[in-house]
Symmetry: C2
Subunit: 223 residues, 2 copies
């Protein structure tokens, strides 16, 4: 399994998105992570369709879309049409999660489920076989720049063990406070994909930081 780095557009310069998107295109990053917040499911409003369409216009890498919204079902087809490759919904937002996952696949996208810091991994037991990705939130969703919650490492280990029998190919993604200081621990715990916002866009050279995150990756894999 190749490890993936997904810079979060939430930390980009919204006055000059084309420039920042082209920076990510030319970097070693794998995906764009796209954080949609509605101000209802989470206490922040980030952006939706007009910004997604601007990202899609210039992005040369897959869009990994994280829906922090209530009632995501009504918007799945529109996010697929707006260029999503992966659509991740929250466990806590979906009463009929199996139906929602089916709808994401029917729209031609990979399906992910995100779990908040308080949500036990075991709750995914009966949906894991249907998923392409699980997003383990390592902060409470809503804002960039928060501090990594250490219990995330236990959750990733538990999820990795559960996936080994149910769905060994599922991508385990981690989002929140991820950077060079904890990436090694997360990879060893079993995580595959890493969202990084401030760690990348707040670095003196974002492309150099992306490269560093990818190289740490390579070192760990060869050790």
């Amino acid at each position: 399994m190749k490890h993936l780095i997904a810079p979060s557009v939430l930390s980009a310069d919204f006055a000059n998105l084309q420039r920042d998107i082209e920076m990510v295109n030319s970097s070693e990053a794998d995906w764009f992570h796209v954080d949609v917040m509605d101000g209802v499911f989470v206490p922040n409003i980030s952006f939706g369709f007009p910004v997604m369409e601007a990202i899609k216009k210039y992005a040369a890498k897959p869009l990994d879309v994280h829906l922090m919204i209530v009632s995501p079902d009504q918007y799945i087809e529109r996010f697929a049409a707006a260029g999503a490759s992966v659509i991740t919904v929250h466990y806590e937002a979906c009463t009929h999660l199996h139906r929602t996952v089916q709808a994401i696949h029917a729209a031609g996208c990979k399906a992910g489920v995100a779990i908040n810091p308080h949500t036990p991994v075991v709750l995914l037991k009966d949906i894991l076989a249907d998923l392409d990705l699980v997003l383990v939130m390592s902060v409470n969703p809503g804002f960039g720049g928060q501090k990594f919650i250490p219990n995330t490492l236990n959750k990733v280990r538990e999820l990795k063990a559960m996936a080994s029998t149910i769905n060994p190919d599922v991508i385990i993604e981690v989002d929140g406070g991820v950077g060079i200081q904890n990436l090694g621990d997360l990879i060893r715990a079993g995580a595959d994909a890493f969202v990084a916002g401030n760690a990348i866009f707040g670095a003196p050279s974002p492309t150099a930081m992306i490269s560093e995150l990818k190289q740490l990756d390579a070192q760990l894999k060869s050790s």
Copy 2:
């Protein structure tokens, strides 16, 4: 009363907002109109704080913020901090509208109330004295590029008559399908401020279109 033109950022290029904001700065436009949609009050998610902050960073004219969101009260202080000069909430979204209007004033902003196409003007009778602005929606809110609803002219006339005794200084703003083809009728009906999105950003020269909208204004005032 000076008539105001408020280009809607919703129709700008979200990949290059700085460029479009600087275009508006250098034009004859009066305000930036900022459409915040949460996907719950309206069937679309536009943008929130990170985009507002990018607009604020470059905008040299007041931000006229139109909140198409449920429970706006919880976000008023943050929108004020993000640079709003005017904060407009929806009549249909506010159970305690008088409290919400007080909160907008307490946050140091001008207070507006928007009414959907089906909402009668008379429902504003007991709040009009407290308002700086009424936004008469001339389309159902949620999307740019929609067709103007002709009954808006009757609503503007009725509101103008009601305001003449209760609050003659209130700004009557119209939003949705406004352009050079109906601006004269709207001014004659009593409207003061005009949101224009596609009419401006879809024009061959947005600055020339803004100028044309302002000149029509001047012609009518001198006639």
